[in-house]
Symmetry: C2
Subunit: 461 residues, 2 copies
């Protein structure tokens, strides 16, 4: 007998409306763990244990796994014939620059409809909301014939360097009929933005050395300063107009992906772009692009960005030295078809040919781009649930501007993935004063409960 | 009746040999003041007061002056007809990177013949040694017909931004028959290096802005990153080979100074250059220069150096943002004839012409190069005293590679200046583990006492 989907949905929505504050409190307890993956430290394992314990309270069977890095929480509940995998991460970006925060980044601060703390949008808010959504349907999970699995890692913000091993070791456990990605945002037009894929990541740090130590800059006429070489090195990679000069960089982009992606991009709203420009105080985008062309660049093209640049004295006031080191932290985001290993080897060869055989290249993370086709059941479930939860068609993008290790799930563990979440266009993920709106938190919880119910219904057809 | 110079000298040398540990203790008390001019804070005024009090104990009349910045100590003793001005500074460079120090930078650490702490070489060691030297001759000061004046400022390491006002306001007090500069170093060939001049300083910080805040670098295809413009800006200033491209930069160098300077440089020892190369682990100097050509560059040519470069995330691990700001701290060291005001205005025009009208330029300090001709009595006194104190001819350079506000003293207060001091080639001024050798501290004290005696003798002839 088919379950009464409408009744389960109504009950779930009512539960969420009556109980959402409990999950704001849960979010409050999560943000207090200083789980900055780049820092490491005790809070990583403590937070993983805490998540496992609260999932166990709900009947999940939990395991803590590790690929050599920060622990991963695996948890499953239900014994239905259809499985849904939920991917999240408990790690966060560093709070720097801390002085720009209006409240403690590791303490939930509620101001009006807004909740502030590092991780509320990316990605602890989604963990809390999803636990709330599961509480709202847990009594019906057998009727829905579902098995629900959490996969919560702790290295997403540093590029998931040891994730691949955990995926390889647990491939069968992970493989599911559908999967939910960690994030998703409400756009300015109040539509839920759903991403069907994520760019990959090649995060490297290039270090050039001069003298064996910093020296008084009275010696500058003689002692080589690595800054001047770094300037030339960076000028070889990209120009102000956004063109990337690493040889062969654009060659392998999957043309099938581009054709399908262009169709989705054409349906996206361009009004958001002008808002973004205003919000960021910009007169124009890189290369002067706008409208469809800008969306195309954002959602279909690879990027190469300097996230950090350093040399010598960067404190206040002045210090006069010839620095001995210059470094650049560079994030490259490949799209489907591109292989970050190949990009890295082309880059190394290119630098060598240009006199930088001494450049030290540290790879912080490397993974390919992964994406899911729009016709998959899990995509249709998130789209249908969005119409019910938000009263509007969602905005579906082929590929987020951001990166995520979706490739491991879609291509290695063979699980189609769709994204949704509780953030919004003003969430300032990765920046000071990261925040979400309470209404999005509540709607996101409903959306997620409804997605599971929709997925069950689609599977039964 | 002419005083018995030999007897006064012998007595001074004996006093120093018997009492030098007292002045190491004095140095120990000085380095504990955290007088980092770039930081500011209470220790600046506390250290100035302390210096005034220990000079008062010795019979000096003291005054504390200020040009609006950190206090300046003025002190004088004796009523002779010939005056000697001693220029020093109690401020120091920041201790960064602190983790590379082997002992607390603000605590004197004696290890074997070495004394470690921030400021031991630059320049608190010279203050302590000079006070010791004055104690050694104080009983003879009337016989020597001398008046001795201390001028101890607190902003040398940030380019003496308010020094000019103090000099202008106290020009008559400052004007002296001879002056002693703050520093001087024992070279690798055991000869005392005496500098007859210092390069000037134009320390600027160039800041370029992109978006109004850092944003997630998923937006890199659209949001301009100021790093790429900084790369182009810096490439317009100088190349890896050391050539400076600011228009007109080399035009105004005084040809008279260059001709006289080349004569002195020819007499300098080039062996030190190879040692420096080895010490710093270098394969070659900028532009491949060596020998006379390298000394010429170091002592006669202006420089333009990046002391600090920063943008975005520079902590450990990775963070993925498009930075909103990129900045470069640049020190330019003009030589005699060059006007830093003109260099700055040419630079601004040049940047504007190349599309950088939005570049923000903060001037941290600006002063001209100053130098003294080799025939002056004070120079001859330091040279003669060096032969007696060290048993070797000193090495006289026309212009130190470093900068100092000597111009205010030589050109504005009309006082010829000569330099000497207690540091050595391995002192690591401005770097971690700054240190001096006890033997140089003792010899420097003798040298300074003998310089005053020589100066008195030359004046009487």
């Amino acid at each position: 007998m088919s379950p009464n989907y409408d009744e389960i949905s109504r009950k779930a929505v009512r539960y969420i409306e009556d109980n959402y504050n409990k999950y704001i409190d849960l979010l409050g307890s999560l943000v207090e763990y200083k789980t900055v993956a780049a820092w490491g430290g005790d809070d990583m394992a403590r937070c993983a244990d805490y998540l496992a314990s609260i999932l166990r309270e709900r009947g999940f069977k939990t395991q803590i796994k590790s690929g050599g890095g920060h622990p991963v929480v695996l948890a499953e509940v239900g014994s239905g014939s259809k499985s849904v995998l939920i991917y999240n991460h408990y790690d966060v970006q560093p709070p720097d620059p801390v002085e720009l925060w209006e409240s403690d980044p590791f303490k939930l601060s509620k101001r009006g409809d807004y909740l502030f703390a590092r991780g509320v949008a990316d990605n602890k808010g989604n963990i809390a909301a999803r636990i709330g959504a599961i509480d709202a349907i847990i009594d019906s999970i057998d009727k829905l014939d579902l098995k629900i699995k959490f996969f919560i890692e702790g290295e997403e913000e540093i590029g998931s360097p040891t994730l691949e091993r955990v995926i390889q070791d647990n491939r069968e456990w992970i493989r599911s009929d559908g999967g939910i990605w960690e994030t998703g945002y409400i756009r300015r037009d109040d539509r839920l933005g759903i991403s069907l894929g994520f760019k990959g990541m090649l995060y490297i740090e290039i270090i050039l050395k001069g003298a064996s130590r910093d020296v008084h800059s009275g010696n500058a006429p003689l002692v080589p300063n690595p800054v001047w070489r770094m300037v030339r090195l960076l000028s070889l990679l990209k120009d102000e107009h956004g063109r990337i000069y690493v040889p062969g960089f654009y060659d392998d982009i999957d043309p099938e992906f581009v054709r399908a992606g262009e169709e989705l991009v054409k349906k996206m709203d361009t009004a958001e772009l002008e808002e973004m420009m205003k919000d960021l105080g910009l007169k124009s985008f890189v290369g002067g692009v706008s409208g469809y062309e800008a969306l195309r660049k954002l959602h279909l093209e690879p990027s190469l960005n300097v996230s950090g640049l350093y040399s010598g004295y960067t404190g206040k006031g002045s210090k006069t030295i010839v620095p001995s080191i210059a470094g650049a932290k560079i994030d490259i985001r490949p799209v489907p078809g591109q292989d970050p290993e190949k990009i890295l080897s082309n880059l190394k060869k290119y630098l060598k040919e240009n006199g930088f055989e001494d450049a030290q290249i540290v790879v912080h993370s490397m993974y390919r781009s992964g994406y899911t086709k729009p016709g998959e059941a899990i995509v249709r479930a998130t789209v249908n649930a969005a119409i019910k939860a938000y009263g509007k068609e969602p905005s579906v993008s082929p590929l987020s501007g951001g990166s995520g290790p979706m490739y491991y799930f879609t291509n290695i563990a063979g699980t189609p993935m769709s994204g949704a979440g509780v953030g919004y266009y003003g969430s300032k993920a990765h920046a000071p004063n990261e925040n979400i709106r309470v209404r999005d938190f509540v709607n996101g919880m409903k959306h997620f409960a409804l997605t599971l119910i929709e997925f069950s219904a689609l599977a039964r057809k």
